[in-house]
């Protein structure tokens, strides 16, 4: 299996832990990720003009060289998917192609790494790689942009793929009604109070469910829920102590990889208790 790989900016910054786990796990599973040369930012949610964002993503999609393009980030995934939809408008497509050195035909398929694992690689095959069934309770948290507005692999409101993955790894996905709610990340810088209140709701619901950790698929969700958890705790005077784990880290743990190899020590919310539980 081989994919063209679009890591997105966070992998070179706040999501270093995500990057480490992706590299380790995919290498072990034998899924080849070939990084796109000279890739550019997708514009996230902050390049305000969506046509510019469509153009930025088209440039990336055009460099996939006939492979499906995989990405670890919900924002990148959403922008790539939406670019394909936007380019169904022939006028926009022509205009954008007018600016690209490599023209984009509109046919590259973007895939989130979760989809690569769950659909393409397959959970049955993944199960064969599980050395250490996890025996923990985990919140499957998808975030908003993995399944909305477009995706080709799961429901926009009540997706199941991450639930199924958690189950495959020997853990129990808890019933979590906020699985696709917004984490608040997009307004973190400009409206921190609002961002923290959203994170509080998510963490509170996770705590209520009795889960040992939350599993995420997006660097921004991780930043919000992990790096900002302390801020939420002190603002609302609640203790969550809720480890936030990338799904690739969870896979790695079940495959018996070391926490360090998976970047777990880079988290701001300590993961040692969780690791200890798994180790038992």
């Amino acid at each position: 299996m081989k994919y063209s790989y679009y890591p997105g900016c966070a992998q070179h910054g706040t999501a270093i832990d995500y990057r480490m786990s992706v590299e380790a796990v995919f290498r072990r599973l034998g899924i080849e990720l070939e990084e796109v040369k000279n890739w550019n930012c997708c514009g996230a949610l902050h390049v305000p003009d969506r046509n510019v964002r469509a153009a930025l993503s088209s440039r990336t999609l055009a460099s996939a060289k006939g492979l499906d393009i995989a990405t670890p980030c919900n924002l990148c995934y959403s922008n790539l998917m939406r670019a394909n939809t936007a380019l169904e408008d022939a006028t926009l497509k022509n205009m954008i192609n007018g600016k690209l050195t490599n023209k984009y035909d509109g046919n590259t398929k973007p895939k989130h790494l979760l989809e690569v694992i769950v659909k393409d690689y397959g959970l049955a095959k993944l199960a064969e790689n599980v050395k250490k069934p996890l025996k923990i309770k985990a919140v499957p948290y998808y975030g908003c942009l993995l399944t909305r507005p477009e995706n080709k692999f799961d429901s926009p409101e009540n997706p199941k793929s991450l639930d199924n993955l958690i189950f495959t790894l020997g853990a129990e996905p808890v019933k979590y009604y906020y699985k696709t709610k917004c984490c608040g990340g997009p307004v973190l810088i400009t409206n921190e109070d609002l961002a923290l209140s959203l994170a509080k709701d998510l963490l509170g619901m996770a705590k209520e469910s009795g889960a040992d950790c939350m599993v995420v698929t997006c660097p921004m969700c991780h930043l919000q829920l992990d790096a900002k958890q302390k801020a939420v705790e002190s603002k609302y005077n609640i203790k969550f102590d809720m480890p936030i784990i990338y799904f690739t880290q969870l896979i790695g743990l079940a495959m018996g990889m070391s926490p360090k190899e998976l970047g777990l020590d880079k988290h701001l919310v300590p993961t040692d208790k969780l690791v200890a539980r798994i180790g038992r």
Binding site: S155, P156, E157, N158, Y177, E208
Partner: protein, 787 residues
């Protein structure tokens, strides 16, 4: 066009034909009256009818007249007068769809003294002025009218065949609509009433109180159910469905499928001895008032111990019972198969099903004759819900494909009734109604709304956005109070979803078997939405109740009475008229190809020649292209007649010829009613079935200037549709030399949107191809071909 002397086969005899009047020993040419209707401005504002009339003036045998409303007595009088005075003996009308007024006009023509078949309508409203703007429409209408004139001149004055009706009606569905239909008919006609469930009463027997009077549902329904049971002219069959339909309108042979009850209804006296012995609770009486009163067995619970068999004093139980079938013969069918709730799990943000999250139907049942809680309103834990929310429009008014586009009509009022019931059961309980628009149109309904407000029910204008079940069994809802522009969050003990009502499962299968088209919403399409509301496009099939769309008990009863009346009227005639447009066998070499081709066994070889049984024949015309020596023609749809019509249509201006069967024609009419615009290059030609067509006709269309030809088939009769692919391939091959596009499409009546989309695509495609062709031709001549 010359007419062959046509020998007659079958039983048709021209009866009312007026022989051509002879003057000075010469046959006088047929005189045709063309009457165009402005239809107020409906047609006149878009089509320049005067220009159409002027274009016909060159023909001296025509009288052309324009009226404001041709269907008015004044308009009809004019035609009648012209016929009676001998000014004309054939009539072409350009007006609304023949579905509306053809019969009116034809009976007028008959009174005036001509064979009614000699009057035809060209549809220039639903299929022209309502679907095109002014550009190109005059040329289209001129062509269509000229085509109709060319056609009417050669029409044979046939009379319909007569067939004896079976005076027995099948009513499908034992809810309030079916019960009413059956009872209203049964004094004068034999009725078989079948019901899928093990008991009568449909949804109504599962209701608590009925709005707006709050009388109890079972109290008003039970007497009617008993009346059905006791009526000597009604045969009631529960656990029964239609498996197969054979025959034709007025004379159906229908196979019924009966699922086993394991208890003989006739023997069971409901003593309950069986249930007392049963160790697993598998044998039970559905509910105390159930009709028929008889126990039944749920085989998923039965352990086959036989205790019940031994104890039954009447020997009524048979654990070996199997599904059975039976055959009945009926002349008419009333469809009253009702509705079911939309599966609300598609609205994922509502998280249905969950404890204490119910549909309104489940809420009703708890308080009805079918109650399993002793008619107590209670939560999953048995306690009374102190805070109840009602969520309107769950899956209704949704244009995204997730729910249904339509308003389900009854929810606004019944949810208020349910809220009243909550308040009545416990005065300090809270009832909230989340609505988008409170629709209480109708007699006594606004008063009901007002009364519910007085009772202290809390109304919130805003659609519930999400429902989150909490571990303690409560439900958290989030919404916007749109009157305030404020977001709100509340926790309730019980949330009642008012689901979109959809046609019950199996509606489509039944309708297909009966040749009854459905609308794009899945409900039975009325023959006319306003004027013929319980008739269907099948003259022997009628419909009543929620199979025609969501409605309340009052309206279901009204339709039940109407359907009974219409069915009685139909059966009362004793005979059914069968269209006389049947095959005529002009030449026969006895090869038997047509006999093999006929899907209905209507052709046989007798003495080395093919002979038609006209009553078995549906007029599909498959035999026409099947005959290797072109010896078969359909009366009034002969190759020459079709060609003459095409020549006249295309002589006015080139266009795209689209052959429609009657079901596709109905789809085009619905597109018109919905004002779905499409290219005015489209020229419809109505045929009894697309299978009468062969390369002769299609090639002629191309030669006369058609830029493309399309065959649209709407019938759901598999005997025909299974052969369409072959027909298309054959035509494609045999018309290839024209290098013009030919297309076949199967579009059921409900799919009118697909039809208009397709027409547009095809018209553009045909246009582009024609343009390329003409460019090429020009290019060739000037030797500067660019392509």
């Amino acid at each position: 066009m010359t007419e062959k002397e046509l020998p007659l086969t079958g039983e048709t005899t021209p009866e009312n034909e007026i022989p051509p009047k002879k003057e000075n020993g010469n046959v006088q040419p047929k005189k045709i009256g063309v009457y165009l209707c402005r239809c107020g401005g409906n047609i006149g504002d878009v089509v320049d009818l005067q220009a159409v009339a002027d274009s016909l003036k060159t023909d001296k045998n025509l009288i052309v007249n324009i009226q404001d409303y041709l269907c008015s007595s004044q308009g009809q009088e004019r035609i009648k007068n012209d016929i009676e005075k001998g000014r004309i003996d054939r009539v072409v009308i350009g007006s609304c769809s023949p579905k509306l007024h053809l019969e009116t006009f034809r009976s007028m023509a008959k009174k005036a003294g001509i064979n009614p078949n000699l009057l035809e309508i060209t549809n220039i409203r639903e299929q022209a002025s309502w679907v095109h703007d002014k550009a190109g429409i005059d040329a289209k209408v001129k062509g269509l009218i000229k085509g109709a004139v060319a056609r009417i001149g050669s029409i044979e004055p046939l009379v319909p065949l007569e067939k004896k009706l079976v005076d027995r009606t099948l009513v499908v569905g034992g809810g309030i609509a079916g019960i009413t239909t059956a009872l209203e008919m049964a004094d004068n006609h034999e009725v078989i009433l079948i019901e899928k469930a093990p008991f009568l009463g449909g949804h109504m027997i599962g209701l608590s109180k009925t709005f707006p009077t709050l009388d109890c549902s079972q109290c008003i329904l039970t007497p009617k159910m008993v009346a059905v049971h006791n009526h000597p002219n009604i045969t009631l069959l529960t656990q029964t469905e239609v498996a197969d339909v054979k025959g034709s309108p007025g004379d159906y042979t229908i196979t019924l499928k009966h699922s086993p009850r394991y208890v003989d209804i006739k023997k069971c006296i409901s003593c309950g001895a069986c249930a007392r012995k049963c160790p697993t609770g598998a044998i039970f009486l559905p509910f105390a008032q159930a009709v028929p009163q008889a126990y039944m067995i749920d085989m998923s619970k039965c352990k086959q111990c036989g205790a019940c068999v031994k104890v039954c004093p009447r020997d009524a139980i048979n654990l070996e019972a199997k599904e059975e079938t039976s055959t009945i013969s009926v002349g008419a069918v009333a469809i009253a198969t009702g509705f079911e709730p939309l599966d609300l799990s598609v609205i994922e943000e509502y998280n249905y099903p969950a404890p204490n999250l119910l549909t309104a139907i489940e809420f009703e049942e708890m308080l009805s004759a079918k109650s399993k809680t002793g008619m107590r309103l209670q939560k999953a834990d048995g306690s009374f819900p102190n805070r109840v929310a009602f969520v309107l429009c769950a899956g209704s008014r949704d244009f995204t494909g997730r729910g249904k586009k339509y308003c389900s009509k009854v929810c606004c009022i019944y949810s208020q009734k349910q809220a009243q019931l909550v308040k009545k059961m416990k005065g300090d309980a809270e009832a909230w109604i989340f609505y988008i628009d409170m629709r209480s149109a109708g007699r006594r309904f606004e008063e009901f709304y007002h009364h519910t407000q007085e009772k202290g029910v809390n109304y919130v204008r805003g659609k519930i956005a999400e429902i989150i079940p909490k571990p303690d069994g409560t439900l958290m809802v989030q919404y916007e109070d749109t009157n305030l522009g404020m977001k709100g969050r509340e926790v309730f003990d019980m949330v009642v979803l008012c689901p979109a009502l959809v046609p019950s499962a199996g509606t489509k299968e039944l309708a297909d078997k009966l040749g009854v088209p459905l609308g794009d919403d899945g409900f039975v399409e009325e023959k006319h939405v306003k004027l013929d509301p319980v008739n269907t496009l099948n003259q022997s099939a009628f419909a009543a109740g929620c199979v025609l769309g969501p409605k309340d008990i009052h309206d279901s009863v009204t339709e039940g009475i109407s359907a009974a009346h219409k069915a009685s009227q139909f059966l009362g005639k004793g005979i059914i008229l069968i269209p006389p447009e049947k095959p005529m066998i002009l030449e026969c070499n006895g090869c038997g190809d047509c006999v093999k081709a006929c899907p209905y066994n209507a052709l046989n070889l007798e003495g080395g020649k093919a002979v038609l049984s006209p009553l078995a024949c549906t007029g599909c015309g498959i035999c026409v292209p099947a005959c290797p020596i072109k010896g078969i023609e359909i009366r009034n749809y002969t190759r020459n007649q079709l060609k003459a019509q095409l020549k006249a249509i295309l002589g006015e201006a080139p266009g795209v010829v689209v052959f429609l069967d009657p079901y596709a024609y109905a789809a085009a009419d619905i597109a018109g009613v919905n004002r779905k615009q499409y290219s005015s290059l489209v020229r419809f030609v109505s045929v009894p079935s697309i299978h009468i067509l062969d390369a002769d006709v299609v090639n002629a269309a191309f030669e006369y200037g058609a830029t493309g030809v399309m065959l649209i088939e709407g019938t759901t009769d598999e005997k025909l549709t299974s052969r369409s692919d072959e027909l298309y391939k054959r035509l494609k091959k045999e018309t290839r030399k024209h290098k013009k596009p030919l297309r076949y499409s199967h579009i059921e009546t409900a799919q009118y949107e697909k039809m208009t989309d397709l027409l547009n695509v095809f018209a553009t495609q045909a246009g582009t191809k024609a343009e390329k062709r003409s460019k090429k031709e020009k290019g060739d001549s000037s030797e500067t071909a660019e392509e």
